[in-house]
Structures are given as structure tokens and as C-alpha cells.
């Protein structure tokens, strides 16, 4: 049975943040993590999913010892994050701030050498490792140029290389593909899978559900600082099989969702705006065939135009919608503001 390599017990993190209006500011307490219990097994790719502001980065910052939790405990690679923080950091290769965190006046090679030294990687080993990473990530073209001349994608790849410099047993990748073009993101995901096959445990945060489904052995969905669901992607999707999801596309006003939710048998409804100005509404129901006429009546009655109706396969996004009642692209902090409650970050 695989060992637990990352474990948290009732991990909580509160901040004091300031709301500013002009020259005035008001302090408020932010509960970024609430009693998070998590177990990640050695050798798996574990996805941490959630919208912006849900608490993903705060959890990662606690695990990487950048933040001290308000309460609770956590262990990484068997080391306590509070009392053995240096060994925790030595166990991790972390990509946290995307292209930030690089010295722009240094070359890619100088950056890797610098951070390798900070990870106590001996000089000779560092040189060999940089050559390995050059091959693996195809850095040849730009490794000896100043980082300030890099494209955004090249900076992200170098940041990824930096996370690999110490060949740590655990990799923490926080939204690593967020500014990458499609082919580069695909290449990075392939490398992540290769690294996992070689024995690295990977904690991968994303708000892209397809990415999580493609990569992760298990996922946890986090919202408002709480883990609201966890398991394998298949198991999470199977939990919704008793429910059906249909999507209506067209020009649909936001207020329709309230009317749809009022229909008995509708579990959740959420409107998403598309880039072309159109909207779609995803509805989770107990029996779509039975409820569809009522739904259409409500939608059309609100002045909406429906162009297309499609049933679709259950995705992790649907799991999120079923658990929270809203889509992933809605920032948790904005929702918290609206609801007057605390938010994650």
C-alpha cells in the first residue's frame, strides 16, 4: 500500500486583510483555509481544483512553509511543516508564481545554477542537472540568454525547470500552464506524466477541469477554504450519475437561473457567458426528459432565445457546480463579498 507523503490535519489559516475605500480602510478577518484534512499518496498526481480565491494557493503556501497556519498540522515527506521546515523545503520542487521568481538580468543557466545552490545541490551535480533539464525541456535555444529577452512561455518553462533543479521527490505545481500556449501546455503535461512515472509525487493545482481529468489520479475540490469533495475523477463523476446535466445555449439572461432552480427536481443551474457574447445555462436535474418542457417554458418566458440544447457527459466542472451551485470561473472572493461571508484567497 502506498505511503502517505503529504498529510494535513484540520489545517486552518486566517488573515487580517484591509478593505480600502479611498483613504479609508477597514480591517477584516479572512478565513482562507478551514479545517482542511488531506492525504496524498506517494507516487500519485493529485489535483487541487477550485476557482480563483478558493484557497488553493494558501494551502500550497502552508505546505511549502511560506505561511504558518493559524491552527492544525501538516507533514510533507514525513517532516512537520512547523518544526522541520528546512527538510520540508528540501523535499519539494515548487512552481508557484509562474514567470515571477526569476532574475531577469541573469541568463536561464545562471538562474538555474543560483536556485540549485539555494537547494544545496553540489556544483558538479548542478551542472549535470542543468544539462539534463536543457534536453528534457528543450531549453537549448534560450538557456544562455538573459531572461528579460524571453517570451512569456519561455519564462514559464524556465520556472518549471527551476522547480525540477533539485529533483525533489514531491513537485508542487500551482497553475503551471496558465500563461502557456496550447502546444507548450501539452508538452508540460506530458513531462509531468513522465516525471510521475519515474516516481515523483505531484500536487497540481488548476482551475481547468479538463487538465485535471487528463492528469490526475485523484482530485480534491476546494471552495471557500474547504475541501468539498475528493476522490478519483471517475468516482466523483459517478457520484453525479443519478443526476443528469443538460446545457441550453443562446442568449439567456442571468435572472433565468433563479426561475429554473425553483422547478422541483432541478438541483443546480448556472449561467456562463461565452466569449462571442452568447450565454449558456447548465442545469443539473434528476430527470432531464421529464423536466425539459418546464425548463424551456421558464427560459422562453423570461425572454431568452435558445439556439441549441445538448445533454452532456458529466465532467468535474459539473461536480463543482453540483457541490457549490455556481461555475468555476466565478471568483470565490466575489461570491463571498456578495454573500457577506468570509472568503478564501
Amino acid at each position: 500500500m502506498p505511503e502517505i507523503i503529504i498529510r494535513t490535519e484540520k489545517l486552518s489559516k486566517n488573515f487580517v486583510s484591509k478593505d480600502r475605500k479611498g483613504f479609508r480602510s477597514k480591517k477584516k478577518k479572512v478565513e482562507a483555509l478551514k479545517d482542511v484534512d488531506l492525504e496524498i499518496e506517494e507516487g500519485e498526481i493529485f489535483g487541487l481544483l477550485g476557482p480563483n480565491g478558493a484557497g488553493k494557493t494558501t494551502l500550497i503556501k502552508c505546505l511549502t512553509t511560506l505561511l504558518i497556519p493559524t491552527s492544525g498540522r501538516a507533514w510533507v515527506n514525513g517532516f512537520d511543516i512547523l518544526t522541520q521546515d528546512n527538510l520540508v523545503r528540501a523535499s519539494l520542487g515548487t512552481m508557484l508564481m509562474g514567470e515571477r521568481g526569476l532574475y531577469w538580468k541573469l541568463t536561464g543557466r545562471e538562474n538555474l545554477d543560483y536556485f540549485g545552490a539555494l537547494y544545496h545541490v553540489p556544483k558538479k551535480v548542478r551542472r549535470r542537472r542543468i544539462e539534463e533539464l536543457k534536453e528534457l525541456l528543450e531549453l537549448e535555444e534560450f538557456l544562455d540568454r538573459s531572461v528579460e529577452t524571453y517570451s512569456s512561455g519561455q519564462k514559464m518553462i524556465l520556472a518549471f525547470a527551476k522547480a525540477l533543479i533539485n529533483e525533489a521527490p514531491i513537485l508542487i505545481l500551482d497553475e503551471p500552464t496558465v500563461t502557456m500556449d496550447v502546444p507548450t501546455a501539452r508538452k508540460l503535461r506530458r513531462i509531468v506524466m513522465d516525471l510521475n512515472e519515474r516516481g515523483h509525487t505531484i500536487l497540481y493545482t488548476t482551475h481547468l477541469m479538463q487538465e485535471a481529468e487528463e492528469l490526475c489520479d485523484r482530485v480534491a475540490i476546494i471552495d471557500h477554504g474547504e475541501i468539498i469533495a475528493h476522490g478519483t475523477p471517475d468516482a466523483l463523476k459517478a457520484s453525479l450519475v443519478t443526476e443528469e446535466t443538460i446545457t441550453l445555449e443562446g442568449v439567456i439572461p442571468q435572472k433565468v437561473t433563479e426561475d429554473i432552480r425553483s422547478i422541483t427536481g432541478v438541483k443546480a443551474a448556472t449561467v456562463t457567458s461565452e466569449e462571442d457574447g452568447r450565454t449558456s445555462v447548465s442545469i443539473v436535474t434528476e430527470d432531464s426528459r421529464l423536466l425539459l418542457p418546464k425548463i424551456i417554458e421558464k427560459v422562453v418566458g423570461n425572454g431568452a432565445t435558445v439556439d441549441f440544447i445538448k445533454p452532456h457527459e458529466v465532467t468535474l466542472e459539473d461536480v463543482f457546480i453540483a457541490k457549490t451551485g455556481r461555475a468555476l470561473n466565478v471568483d470565490t472572493r466575489v461570491v463571498a463579498e456578495r454573500e457577506g461571508g468570509p472568503s478564501g484567497r
Binding site: T64, L66, N86, V121, A168
Partner: protein, 289 residues
């Protein structure tokens, strides 16, 4: 292939020294890519010393009158060398302090501070790398500014007890490391460097007695000035080279005080830095800027 428990990390005394060297080397590489900044840095003390010299000349009504007045008040007629020594010593102090402060601020803004905090490198070695770099830069600036300044102002700095002046300079640099830690912690907390440096610049030069003996202060301010290690360094260098009075009358008592500062201030500064860092990690973290 099995992954090792700590990957390629091999913590040792040697790897700690490697961190100091790598941080130092990276700073040298970065500054070498900002051409001109080192050159400009050496001009600062010349301008800094020229101001009071010219004011002195204009107030006293000529060089002879200025020398006579200065001799009566301070104990040496060579007011140009006095100002130049004060200015170059002040540049050493300010480079040591401001480099650490600006370094923390820049790293915060660039995101590299968090990247460093992700690594298992102890702060002591990171900041030692920076302090070593600041130490080298300040000594280079000191040497060049003193050399060029001596030519410009027509003074001879190689008189008096040169070895003793060097001892005051080097021992005085050690408590500056501690003050740099204190200053760095303050910048970490307030997340602002420019305004802090701009205002602290004048406070530091005032209390160091860059252009006048601190005996001119009222008693309370004299005590404040004497609690500041660079005041002892500045006075020691001048007293050794210009045959002026030491605070305690003899050089060894003054140097002993500087040694006490050297033993205590780095420890206090580092402890304060770690406390500030811990406090920040308990709230929003060091990466917020």
C-alpha cells in the same frame, strides 16, 4: 529509477558557503549588467563633501579663515580632509544599509523573495551573501572616493595612524551587518524602501557626525549618537588619521566599544529579522507587496 528522499539536496557546511558565494556572485553579475552605477556611486561622496566645504568657505570668507575657525572649534585646520573622511565613511555605512534594504524590496517586487524562501537555504547565508557583496562595494567606493576626493580637494589622507584607521573601519563594518538586518526587517514590514532610505539618509549622517563633531549636540542627542555604531567608526577613522580626540580619550577604549557593538548588534539584528519574518508568515506572508 527511484527518487531519493531529498532529491539532489546535500546539506553541509560547504553547501552553506556555496549559498553565500552564489548569492554574492549573482549580485556581482547583476550589477555588472547595469553599467555606470558603480561609477556614479563613487561620485556621491565627492558631491557630499563638496557641499559643506563650499559652505564653510563662503561663510568663513576664505580658506585661511575657514581653517582657523575649524581648528578652533574641532581641533584640526584640515577641514577638507575632515569632510572628505566623513563623507566616504558615510558612503560605506549607507551602501551597507541601503543595499540590504533595496535588495529585500526589489526581491519582493520581482517575486524572487518568495522563490528564495521556497528553498532550504537559511536566511543567515542568504543575507551573508548580500552583506558580503555590500561590504565589497562599499570598500571599493570608499577607496575610489577617497583617492579621487584627495586629488579634487588637495588633501593627503595618508597621514597619522593608517593601520588604526583601517582597524576602526573594518571592525565598524561588523555591527553594520547587524544594522543591515534591522533595516532589512523594517523594509520587509513596511514594504517600502525609497522613502525610508531618503529620510534615514539624513538621520544617519546627522547622528554619525559626518560634517561636525557630535560634541556640538546637546547631551541627550550626544547619547543617541553614541548608541549608533557608525558614529564610533567615523570618529575612530578621523581621530586616527587627523590626530583628533577619541571619545574615551584613548584609541583602545573606543575600539573596544566598537568590538562590543560587533559582538552584539549582528545577533540582535538577525534575531529581529527572524522575528519579523515569523510574524509576517503568520499573517499574509513575505510575498505580499
Amino acid at each position: 529509477m527511484a527518487v531519493e528522499k531529498l532529491g539532489l539536496t546535500r546539506m553541509s557546511r560547504r553547501s552553506n558557503l556555496d549559498i553565500v558565494w552564489t548569492v554574492f556572485k549573482a549580485r556581482i553579475l547583476i550589477i555588472s549588467r547595469y553599467r555606470g552605477s558603480l561609477f556614479l556611486e563613487t561620485l556621491i561622496p565627492l558631491v557630499f563633501a563638496a557641499l559643506p566645504i563650499l559652505i564653510g568657505l563662503s561663510v568663513a570668507g576664505g580658506d585661511a579663515a575657514a581653517s582657523a575657525n575649524f581648528n578652533r572649534q574641532v581641533g584640526t585646520p584640515d577641514y577638507r580632509l575632515y569632510m572628505l573622511l566623513g563623507a566616504v565613511t558615510f558612503v560605506v555605512v549607507s551602501i551597507m544599509l541601503w543595499i540590504v534594504g533595496f535588495w529585500i524590496r526589489r526581491e519582493m517586487e520581482m517575486g524572487t523573495l518568495e522563490a528564495m524562501y521556497l528553498a532550504p537555504a537559511k536566511r543567515l547565508y542568504l543575507v551573508s551573501g548580500i552583506a558580503t557583496y555590500a561590504f565589497l562595494r562599499s570598500l571599493i567606493a570608499f577607496a575610489i572616493a577617497l583617492g579621487v576626493g584627495s586629488l579634487v580637494f588637495g588633501v593627503n589622507p595618508f597621514q597619522g595612524e593608517i593601520a588604526l584607521a583601517t582597524a576602526f573601519l573594518f571592525v565598524g563594518l561588523i555591527p553594520l551587518w547587524g544594522l543591515a538586518f534591522l533595516f532589512g526587517a523594517f523594509i520587509l514590514k513596511v514594504k517600502e524602501a525609497n522613502s525610508v532610505v531618503n529620510s534615514a539618509q539624513w538621520v544617519v549622517s546627522f547622528f554619525m557626525g559626518v560634517f561636525f563633531p557630535i560634541a556640538f549636540f546637546p547631551p541627550f542627542l550626544q547619547w543617541v549618537a553614541l548608541s549608533f555604531p557608525p558614529t564610533w567608526m567615523n570618529n575612530g577613522v578621523r581621530a586616527a588619521l587627523q590626530d583628533l580626540a577619541f571619545f574615551f580619550g584613548t584609541w583602545y577604549f573606543d575600539l573596544a566599544v566598537l568590538f562590543v557593538f560587533a559582538a552584539v548588534v549582528p545577533f540582535l539584528g538577525y534575531s529581529f529579522f527572524l522575528r519579523t519574518e515569523h510574524h509576517m508568515k503568520k499573517n499574509e506572508g513575505v510575498g505580499q507587496y
